[in-house]
Symmetry: D2
Amino acid sequence: MPFDALFVPPALCEAVSDRAWLRALLEAESALAAAEARAGVIAQDAADAVAEACGAAFDVDELVDEGRKVGNVVEPLVRRLREEAPQAHWGATSQDILDTAAALISRNALALIQVELEQVAHACAQLAEQYRSTVMAARTLLQQAVPTTFGVKAASWLVGVVHARERLGAAGLPAQLGGAGGTLAALGDRGVDVLRAYAEELELPEPVLPWHTRRLPLAELGAALSVAAGFLGKIAVDIELLAQTEVGEVREAADGGSSTMPHKRNPVGSTLTRACAIRSQAASGVLLTTLAQEQERAAGAWHAEWGALSDALALTGGAAAWLGQTLAGLEVDAERMRANIGAETLSEAARFGIDAQRPEDYLGSAGAFVDRALAFYRGR
Amino acid sequence: MPFDALFVPPALCEAVSDRAWLRALLEAESALAAAEARAGVIAQDAADAVAEACGAAFDVDELVDEGRKVGNVVEPLVRRLREEAPQAHWGATSQDILDTAAALISRNALALIQVELEQVAHACAQLAEQYRSTVMAARTLLQQAVPTTFGVKAASWLVGVVHARERLGAAGLPAQLGGAGGTLAALGDRGVDVLRAYAEELELPEPVLPWHTRRLPLAELGAALSVAAGFLGKIAVDIELLAQTEVGEVREAADGGSSTMPHKRNPVGSTLTRACAIRSQAASGVLLTTLAQEQERAAGAWHAEWGALSDALALTGGAAAWLGQTLAGLEVDAERMRANIGAETLSEAARFGIDAQRPEDYLGSAGAFVDRALAFYRGR
Amino acid sequence: MPFDALFVPPALCEAVSDRAWLRALLEAESALAAAEARAGVIAQDAADAVAEACGAAFDVDELVDEGRKVGNVVEPLVRRLREEAPQAHWGATSQDILDTAAALISRNALALIQVELEQVAHACAQLAEQYRSTVMAARTLLQQAVPTTFGVKAASWLVGVVHARERLGAAGLPAQLGGAGGTLAALGDRGVDVLRAYAEELELPEPVLPWHTRRLPLAELGAALSVAAGFLGKIAVDIELLAQTEVGEVREAADGGSSTMPHKRNPVGSTLTRACAIRSQAASGVLLTTLAQEQERAAGAWHAEWGALSDALALTGGAAAWLGQTLAGLEVDAERMRANIGAETLSEAARFGIDAQRPEDYLGSAGAFVDRALAFYRGR
Amino acid sequence: MPFDALFVPPALCEAVSDRAWLRALLEAESALAAAEARAGVIAQDAADAVAEACGAAFDVDELVDEGRKVGNVVEPLVRRLREEAPQAHWGATSQDILDTAAALISRNALALIQVELEQVAHACAQLAEQYRSTVMAARTLLQQAVPTTFGVKAASWLVGVVHARERLGAAGLPAQLGGAGGTLAALGDRGVDVLRAYAEELELPEPVLPWHTRRLPLAELGAALSVAAGFLGKIAVDIELLAQTEVGEVREAADGGSSTMPHKRNPVGSTLTRACAIRSQAASGVLLTTLAQEQERAAGAWHAEWGALSDALALTGGAAAWLGQTLAGLEVDAERMRANIGAETLSEAARFGIDAQRPEDYLGSAGAFVDRALAFYRGR
């Protein structure tokens, strides 16, 4: 897709690439053989052979080309592995390996996203602390309402980001192993043992039973990505609004210059954050709307997940990366914030019997809320 | 919207109606006054007056009519309350009351939804237990693959429903109280105390700070509703596929007759479950895509939530109600299940060295999976 | 759904109500009988009896209640009709009548929407003409860029609204008649004749063949509604941004007062326009994502359409009505527009060798574009 | 994104690639210079220099890397062009070039999609003709209803595909040229002339006025892609259902083998068609929900379009390519169709006084509908 590198950091692009998926598929096959050896289903030698076969180099394009016949790349991959290690993929179905790869891809990408989100949270915390008492106008329906502080605004961003991070942290996928029909029939009475060992090998959660068409973990991961991306978009909108020429209360540090209008300092980071967020939410939406998967393996909805999951991970990470960089370099104009506050923002005070001559006199719990937010952040 | 009563049980229709919202608004106003009295912000007499004023009858149509001028119904409602109780709505903003009402509406509707989901789970558990050893064909990409049991299928439904229920159970909204700009300015230094007392009065979670534009709780509620509805849709799809004329392994008990084709037994319950699920997911999607709310109060995205939340609650409940009824009356034709299994479903067994003459010989961990699912259900 | 009347004009609420759907169902049944009489399939007397039976009063709640057994309200309605007119619904299936009702509902609602859109277009044209030479800052990425005129802005709104109207004007649904399986089997060799006569009776387009699961007309109607609503939302966003306290270039005439902040003039109309647009797009999205309907009648996707279509119609109309009223009363502050223009918006001119001392000197084709837009509008 | 080549034909992948976008950007820049020379804004020599500069090789990765500073790749590209041709990009803004590139990309990709859709239509027409009298059961709510023919089913597919093609054929984007603020200020009084010449050079429609934030053409293109993809998904669902083991009325020719279950003939083509359709609809949905773009250039919504448009084009093409191949090789089992028809499908006939002993006796207008569909197809 065009200009992906403009939106998504290289490490995240790589983490959801064909190559990364191939590595994850091989990791799953290797873990399966190891688990089966532990459970006595195949010999250790056979498992070692699988591990070695998985270490070879494979041509993704070739696999995809051959995969067109069966609708996925696992079948041609397994064919190659079995040339070296006949007991590769023992008792498994393609979806076992692809779903487990999705779990591994997600874990790796989520780790990168978490780093980016921590940058965002850290920047918000710094802003909340530094501008704890910096008054500015609160704006409701885009009209000045009453005074607030930039600290409270950043504190609310902070709490949202911490919230989003925690949900993402809890949103990983379990290992997948069910065999052709979800019964692990080919493993005889050892299925449950192999499933446990397999999950342990991969350090992935063990499911209660195979989830070939019980896609709640994936849908919830999608939802968590959507919530995170959507809230990053909210912060970006706030920055764009504060950075408006007529408001001028913040400025992005990054260049953002226009070729023909050198005076302009475009909010480029916020803009790309929003673009990532919008596309991320569309991608993760697929993971929700495809829950209705048929019987024991879906004929289409499952296949739509791979790209949607990859996009949702990459673009949420892109949103976080752009926003983290934007917040870290944000120039805050406290004087302009103070100067912009209209006198009418104090009009409410008298109604409640509060003698507020200056914005600073009508801040209520602003400071307390900043402290609560910082404590919330630090307590996690 | 047309024929809502066809899809949604009366109690749920009522739980998200104009009347229910009005009651919730009044409950929030009353709790606010009580909390402010406890915190010493207003006198107890004043709070009592508010409580009494909130007990009056209001004409929703009139409120809506007047609400057109300001974009919501709280302002005309407060005007009326203040005629009787001048300190009503002290220090609050309309959104405080509307968001708190959304929390109350959600709590009530979720309680109804949970009852319906428990019916679904209970029915799944019964099916899993009763048909633990009933063999049938597993179908992948809509082709017969290997044998499985109807017990495993129902067990997987069960685990998904339990999963969905738990997420919904954790998805409530906190109380909302921030005042005009999110600082509780009008409450002076008592804001935090009032916030705590208000949440206690309502038995709602207390937020770290006001969430006027930090809509993650709502987005997550939407996501949980979407996941639940989506998975209910999956069960319905399975039933529809099993009920096909050419498959005939299950039948819905309900009439489902066709006026001109008396032989038809349409899967009406599954059909309406799916319809509810589709619409529910569209409605809850709004709660995700509107996360990017501007500054301290959004100019449109917030106002879009009321209907979307109500629809998502009602339709998820509708899906659960229809499916619960469908599962409770499901006629399972175990003989047909057995007879439908093609001989070729055993073709895989030999490859794995298993001597399977009958479907019963090639079930792997099917029974164990049923047991795990039932234990999972009962352990919750 | 809560507070619908806040968002949608009464006439549109009524146009998609249960009552309106019932009337449309009866109109379809009556037209069917008339067409069948014309084609000699039933006697004219029989058709007259149907027409008379259709004139009776029916209790929607009762129909819905009985409809729960079969998944739609047509079956109980037909049962009642046949008590008086045994040849009612001759050869038709419930979907024939419901889809035709959807066509009638759409035609009626679209007529109301068109009136609202014409108000919007008219107001845009007036603004474009009146403010043809009123300079203001063009804003890109929310930064002042170069001068433009309010006339150009309104002209672009105008062109978009005209465009949206035309697409809606072309987006009606055809009549539906296919019988139980889409072959009109019960009409013997008269099916095509009846289909033609039926469409004529109803003054609806005649389809090439029944479209029970070929839902492109509905999807395209949904798309046209989504495009219209989305663009109305764009105009509303512009107004909100121009109405910001710090910009102050336009003001909504409507009250929009805040109960505790009398100074605020909230952009209520724009806000409710956006809320309608967001919800409308979610509803119409259902009509796109449910295209994949199974075989000769869908088991769920079809049933999801009724509410989605009704919502999409009502809310698009709501967006248009709110925006039309907003634009009609819009207060434009030409002086503020002029005063807001930063000197740096002329910085580009020198680069292109244009001697621009004032914004008025650097407007390029602004006036020509206004003229083109007005001619475009008037030429339609 | 993983395994794109599995879903999308190479030519379409290439048509929306970074390289294709770069070529389109250069084509736009070159056409702009040519148009400006024709209009006397720049000298012919200068335009020639631009054309030559546009012929050079550029490193997309470098451009993207530098583009991160400004949020798009046009600025670094223009910087390079101006080293060779100082009057490159005269009076234009980055969005002019990017939007025009989107128009060119769309035109090229749509041409490829049309070829694929014609394959689909052609195959449907052949099936409709060949199986005009091949009886089978019509299935409503997945239950056998009355007899129909495979010809009618294919005819309905055909009409839908023709319909979708026509809408796509009418859905191209116009040229874009507005300059920094949509007034073509830098072109003085020659703006309209240049706009016309520019559109002519590119053989793209000329817009009434610049459409920087009036995104209806893009939204309508997205809608047309969504409708096409959605309907292709419908055909794929039908094939999957007919190909079920228990139905067995059609079979995909392609391998579709399972590694461990040699008996399985998976409906791979239909499955991948559906996967493409689902993802395509999610991508095109972005083009609808981003209509609300701010003022004269959007800060995020615009940037989200590039990837969404590219995905929607590629995946709609992927759906069409997979389905065309599937239909071309579809094996139809007319005997099985006949044998599957249950006797009860004739139960309706007696009610309507038709003496139908065999399915062939109760087909109504089936043949006529096939003829109408073929005439419709051939008449276009």
